[in-house]
Symmetry: C2
Subunit: 313 residues, 2 copies
């Protein structure tokens, strides 16, 4: 069974007239999630935000914005259209719709450019790509209506591919508990003051949301041998500490390659001879976000064996 | 307008009862080509083989085998099925069906594993992958019926991505002549004794077949800004000279990255600090072919700007 871990991502910031979004009933969020063909598994909240753990990734809600990440074959564009139609495109200050290169793009229900065209019916926007279409990349639609990001609005994504064999071996054990996986990621050490909500999928796979005031972090683990992938994303202002957080995950997961994508919190990254930067795109969106996309690879040392398909789906 | 340069590839070796294939009428080859929704543009031949230049790549016919490469959104699997149904699966000694990672896999009429399943209806075979599903790779179905490749049966593919901007600038000039492109590639210098047949597409794009006895070479150029790609393939026993041929193309096209795939003619390749090997797969097929797949990348020096889509198709 093939599972696509790569997430689609939607962020919508609304004007004052729709705030606070956190006051909307859970039935509303349930409906949004249903539109992309996912379900809510559990939720946590504090005075600043709500975090829903989904059957395919996560939904975060603040007073002024939502952030939704969905993987697998979900139709995130439908959640975006539903939200905009229900609440009114005029009340949207800013919308981002982002998709990265998938393992098997041909199995997705829509193509990114098709989704972007769909959003262009409701909004003026720009469509851009960071990275190479034949290799790693992220494509982004964003609205170009006048907007200035607030100071705390930063994002860091770390997207890791082909974790070391012993890591995949551990993560595909079918009897893993939440405690074992938290321990594996040493989450208590690196994020001691976050409230956590996590779920172990059957036969394997793991998702976690963490919140602390307005800060979130989210981890999604696809250990499937055909598409090994782990994503980590947060809005913690990492800045000079980015390296510490990235190294934490890289040392635990030992991926073959990874992408780092940041919005308004870029920092120098150099991994010496361990990982080489093969793609680097750095640019500014018209509405004031500094975006940085980097793809790092190990140098191939000894040749690998070919992959032999045991099943063809 | 988007154009997919990455080729699908079919090779079929038949038993004595069907030889010589070169005696079949051109109407037969026209029909095979029509099945994948391409057309024949021109042809050349010698006493050993025929070479057809197609609207999407090439078809080569020898007494005992055919080799067909098709790009764009062609349905090569349909040509394969037609050939096998017309001539009989029992008379096929060996069949290879190969597809590499596409720029936009989601626009293809079928998925590789779907094609492989289709071939499994007629043949016992193995399905394998060289490289990473999330990055560069080639997938291959091959028949596992007992077979021993003949000595001269070797192949070298050089697949180049993101040629230097000045190269793309030249290759997308809309008034280029065959003479100018041959001169650009210095084909007379490197392949002096091949009979050549080539075609310049409108508004741009270029295909070339060359033959010399049983030897072929073929070049296909997709200079489109959205999917820049040039492929070179040959069965010349390059061996120790492989580096010379590869360097010839790399120096002219200055690609950002490239794949080298060889069947029964591997050789050491090291490009120092210019290109780093990020993927290397080396293995043997059950029927005696040594396959070597390597993906080379430039190290990213200065960050690039993001790509801004001017049109969404």
């Amino acid at each position: 069974m093939f599972f696509e871990g790569a997430e689609k991502k939607l962020e919508i910031i609304v004007d004052k007239s729709l705030q606070p979004l956190t006051n909307r009933p859970d039935s509303f969020w349930k409906e949004i999630v249903a539109k992309c063909e996912a379900t809510i598994l559990s939720q946590i909240e504090n005075s600043k935000m709500k975090a829903f753990l989904l059957s395919e990734s996560s939904l975060f809600v603040w007073d002024d914005r939502i952030l939704m990440l969905t993987c697998g074959q979900t139709k995130l564009i439908q959640s975006a259209k539903f939200f905009v139609n229900e609440l009114g495109a005029d009340h949207v200050d800013c919308l981002f719709f982002q998709r990265k290169n998938e393992y098997r793009a041909q199995l997705q229900p829509s193509d990114f450019l098709e989704d972007a065209k769909n959003l262009m019916k409701d909004f003026d926007g720009e469509v851009v790509r960071f990275g190479k279409l034949h290799s790693h990349h992220t494509q982004l639609f964003y609205t170009t209506k006048e907007y200035s990001p607030i100071d705390s609005d930063c994002t860091c994504e770390l997207l890791m591919y082909d974790m070391a064999p012993e890591v995949i071996g551990f993560l595909t054990r079918e009897d893993l508990t939440i405690a074992q996986i938290r321990d594996f990621f040493q989450l208590g050490k690196i994020f001691p003051d976050f409230e956590l909500d996590d779920f172990v999928f059957k036969p394997y796979g793991y998702s976690l949301n963490g919140i602390r005031g307005e800060d979130y972090l989210t981890i999604h683990v696809t250990p499937q041998e055909k598409s090994p992938y782990v994503s980590f994303e947060t809005n913690i202002k990492l800045c000079s500490e980015t390296r510490v957080f990235l190294n934490h995950f890289l040392e635990i997961l030992k991926p073959f390659s990874f992408d780092v994508m940041t919005f308004n919190c870029t920092t120098e990254l150099d991994f010496g001879n361990t990982y080489m930067k093969t793609i680097h795109v750095k640019d500014s969106l018209k509405i004031g976000y500094e975006v940085d996309f980097r793809y790092f690879n190990k140098r191939s040392e000894a040749p690998e064996k070919m992959y032999r398909y045991k099943e063809l789906d």
